[in-house]
Amino acid sequence: MKSLTTFALVMVAHMLLLTAPISAATVLCSSPNGARFNLEPRANALPQGSGAVDLLPNRLGAGDDLIVEVGNDSHPRLASGDGYYVHRSSTADCSVQFEGGLPNFTFQGNEVEGFGGTTVAADPARDAFFVADARLGQTGGVGLFRASVSTLLDTKACPNGTHTAAKSTSCWTVTPPVLLFPVPGAFSGGVFSIAVDERPTSAGTGAGDVYAVTEIADNTVNNVSLAACTNTLNCGPAIVISAKEAFQSSSYVRVRPDGVITVNYVGGNASSLDIKFVTCAPAGAPNPPVCTAPTVVQKVTGADPNPLDINLQPFLLPKHAIRAEAGGKFTTFLVYDNCQNTFAPPGSNAECLNAEVLLTTSTDNGKTWSTPISVDTAAGNHLASNITTDPVTGFTQIAYYSSEGDPFQHAVQVFRNQINPGSTALGTPQMVTQTLDPLDGTETTLIPNISFLGVAARGTSPGVTSRLYISFTSSTVAGAYEGFSAPDLNNSITQVSF
């Protein structure tokens, strides 16, 4: 009898333990389809497309990460379409406490406004986040913002809810934003990227510096340019790091754990397309880094990696991540979407029948690269790849959309593949989101931005569980339209512990 009572009490206590931490307002990060990561009301909801995500682990408490996600937001409730969404509550979940659009700011006396391409980078050593977006005005360029964590946690500067233009300004302009790569009119570059030298400020030349890279193309110039800024946004002149190719695209910058800046981009001419890699020594911002000539990672052949689907529209956007090894060495992992099988209908351009994510690796700082291998060999489209390395544990995570569960190769799920520390071997592809999502969404004239998923993985110490966040676009949460519920595209987030 006593044992039965004890058993019953244990069961009740166990159930309470299971249910107690999950209040009605808790937004689980790792629910089967992740979590919607915005505050948009459901009535006449408009699409949000995921851009990028980063975090400061345990910054809000044990197991509670400060998360900043950015993306494209088509709802006019925000100051601009360059949305930011922040989790800062004391509940360790994926709820959003505030959101907004990056504010206009003044450059040389004229306002510049955001128009897309938003990205984010965390700086754990200096407790800050950096956000960048494309800018439009009399002079366009890349806008670079800095927000300290103290500001992001300040409910006066950054109040809860959806920010007006004034609140966006108070939240993101304590450090005055800067305009990089200024060009007349709208920003004429393509994809840009930012990275922070996360070393402690006293660790050496360049520690704490922020780097931005983009390709610039107008009637007079076309190149890939790199700019260096101090952590408080004192920026130097941009330098050209490309090799006078006929055109360039898809530049992406990272900073090695030793402070060396690495850039990959795509350069080519009418007959060839190469993924290239550049290594730069920091000179201490605002001094520009000193860069080597680009090396070729891989020659790309065949069609663009755009599968034959109305929604799946990735681009060739190679990305890399760097893992520190023993003895001061580094392993660089680079992923990109590739067309596995091309098809040329009579009289038409080559089409991509199925996309794959390829991985190549370098153990000599980008001089030579391994033969690319497919991250996921299951039938279907694998695309929108991104890669990150947890600097604390050395685990490398690759995230991508996969249509392998859908015979029509239209609906997708988020997958990941993990490379363990000390190894360059891929693991087994892991399904992250459970529902096959057609991404058809609300406003049928807007195709969702699924060029790439956002990824960030950070831990606190070796041997302790780290967390991977993946930002992605999803249509599993409905909006309400004239009284009828219908799928709505949302920037979403999911979390994986590893």
Partner: protein
């Protein structure tokens, strides 16, 4: 000998068992026609397959044999059989919704030129005269002209394996047809679209057996914005056609005409009048015409307004499907036991306000319905518009046909009602209005499988139909005995994949399914 007797009895028993099993299986719905995806109804090889989008279907019950319907369907076919994006498909050897033969259409020559097929073939059956008629658009050059083609195929010609052999008619399909004609010939400044036709099924009386076509004619002086509906009457035997008659009066943007012939020979036409400059309403109109015996043109009344829809679905997205809808009213007549005629009219409408969430948004209907109305006074007055189903999400591409043998009215449509999460995967449904009533019964699911409709053709072709095309084909007939009627639904579906460079990908095909009742 005794052993042989046992073997013989066993054989007979097995044979009877097999017969029973196959009969039971058919009754249980195991026919390929009632498979989860229906049955693909073309013969295109799978390598490098291109799009077929269903347009229409017609059949003659038991005409190919006992329990074997002679079925003819038409579709937009991007293979370009006979150098045109249209084709026909025939079932004549097995009752399994599989095409025995297919082909493009023959050209038609007359004093004004050689008219080549151009598109939008629509087929109707003519049980009273044992044949089929197909109307399509036609084009002639030097001078550039367009017209409405009509070709006739007798059942005998379609069943003639010598003149109309099985397989794809690579040598031309002229042997499958007996005669052809082109009517409503105009210059390309008066461009024609969306033909339709009907046959007077009577065997006596003025107009008996006559064939009527309708077509939308665009008027170049108004930048093709103004459109009118024209009606033509042709004789059954030799397709001797009347001059075309304007029947849409002053309606400036009359489109999507649908013609039927009542059991008493009266010709009826429904169409929609849309004002694209002030897109606030669509008017569904109905015209009644008295036959004068082809090639004399009928005498038509002024159009009657059936209803006005204030949320026009013309060229608007159907919910989340990324498919575009059109208001294409269609009607069917039912002869009542007291000799009167009830007319049922169905179309797609937006139940609520259209959404236009941004400047770039052309408009989305959050809830598309298939609706029906009926008239018992020859189209002068109409019952309140009623939904065919109260199912959630999107119902669209409605079609209607009366089985004159039983008086059952059939309504087919796509519905996304079973895709609760994303509301994009359609299935084919069929609803019936029982004889003597005007209320719609519970719809039945015709395709238990569903598809993603917005895939892209691996091989792009000019003027390719998008998604599921713009309509469903429907025909219903029987012997009058319960359980011996069929309602065939021709629909567009991509469950059968093509292969492209060794990779299997969705391919849109015309499919066929039926309901036996």
């Amino acid at each position: 000998m005794k052993t042989h007797g046992h073997v013989a009895r066993l054989t007979i028993l097995l044979f009877l068992f097999t017969l029973h099993a196959s009969a039971s299986a058919k009754a249980a719905g195991s026919s390929p026609c009632t498979a989860p995806n229906g049955s693909i109804f073309n013969l295109e090889p799978r390598p490098n397959a291109v799009t077929q989008a269903a347009l229409s279907v017609a059949f003659l019950p038991n005409r190919a044999g006992a329990g074997l319907d002679l079925v003819v369907a038409t579709a937009t076919d991007q293979r370009g059989l006979s150098d045109s994006p249209e084709a026909f498909y025939v079932q004549r050897s097995t009752e399994n919704c599989a095409a025995d033969l297919e082909g493009g259409f023959p050209s038609i020559s007359n004093a004004m030129g050689l008219f080549m097929p151009l598109g939008t073939p629509i087929v109707v059956a003519d049980p009273a005269h044992d044949g089929f008629f197909i109307a399509d658009l036609r084009f002639a050059s030097s001078p550039d002209l367009n017209g409405v083609g009509i070709i006739k195929a007798t059942s005998a010609s379609l069943l003639n394996a010598t003149n109309c052999p099985k397989g794809t008619q690579t040598a031309g399909s002229a042997g499958c047809f007996t005669t052809g004609s082109v009517s409503n010939i105009t210059s390309l400044n008066d461009f024609l679209v969306d033909p339709n036709l009907a046959v007077d099924q009577r065997t006596s009386g003025t107009g008996a057996g006559d064939v009527y076509t309708v077509v939308t004619e665009t008027l170049a002086p108004h930048d093709f914005g103004d459109t009118s509906i024209f009606l033509t009457a042709c004789t059954n035997a030799d397709l001797n056609c009347s001059n075309s008659t304007l029947i849409s009066a002053e309606d400036a943007e009359a489109k999507f005409a649908w013609v039927q012939v009542r059991p008493d020979g009266v010709i009826t036409v429904s169409y929609v009048n849309f004002n694209s400059l002030v897109p606030t309403s669509e008017e569904v109109k109905f015209v009644t015409c008295t036959p004068n015996g082809a090639p004399n043109p009928p005498t038509c009344s002024a159009p009657v307004l059936v209803t006005t829809e204030t949320a026009p679905v013309f060229n608007k997205f159907i919910g989340q499907t990324r498919l575009v809808d059109l208001t294409m009213p269609k009607h069917a007549h039912r002869l009542e036991s007291n000799g009167t005629v009830t007319t049922f009219l169905t179309y797609d409408r937006c139940e609520v306000k259209l959404l236009k969430l941004s400047k770039a948004d052309n408009g989305t209907c959050p809830k598309t319905d298939v609706v029906v109305t009926s008239s018992t006074d020859g189209g002068q007055t109409w019952s309140p518009i009623a939904k065919v189903t109260n199912s959630p999400f999107q119902q669209f591409f409605s079609a209607i046909a009366t089985d004159s043998s039983t008086g059952t009215v059939n309504i087919a449509y796509y519905s996304t009602e079973n895709d609760a999460t994303f509301q994009t995967r359609p299935q084919v449904f069929l609803a019936q209005i029982a004889p003597g009533t005007t209320s719609v019964g519970t719809p039945s699911l015709q395709t238990s499988a569903s598809i993603y409709p917005n895939t892209i053709a691996a091989i792009p072709t000019q003027l390719e139909p998008v998604g599921l095309g713009d309509r469903i084909g429907l025909a219903a007939a029987g012997t009058g005995t319960a359980g011996q009627s069929h309602a065939y639904v021709g629909f567009t579906w991509n469950s059968v994949f093509g292969t492209y460079g060794g990779v299997s990908l969705p391919d849109m095909n015309n499919h066929l399914t039926f309901l036996q009742y």
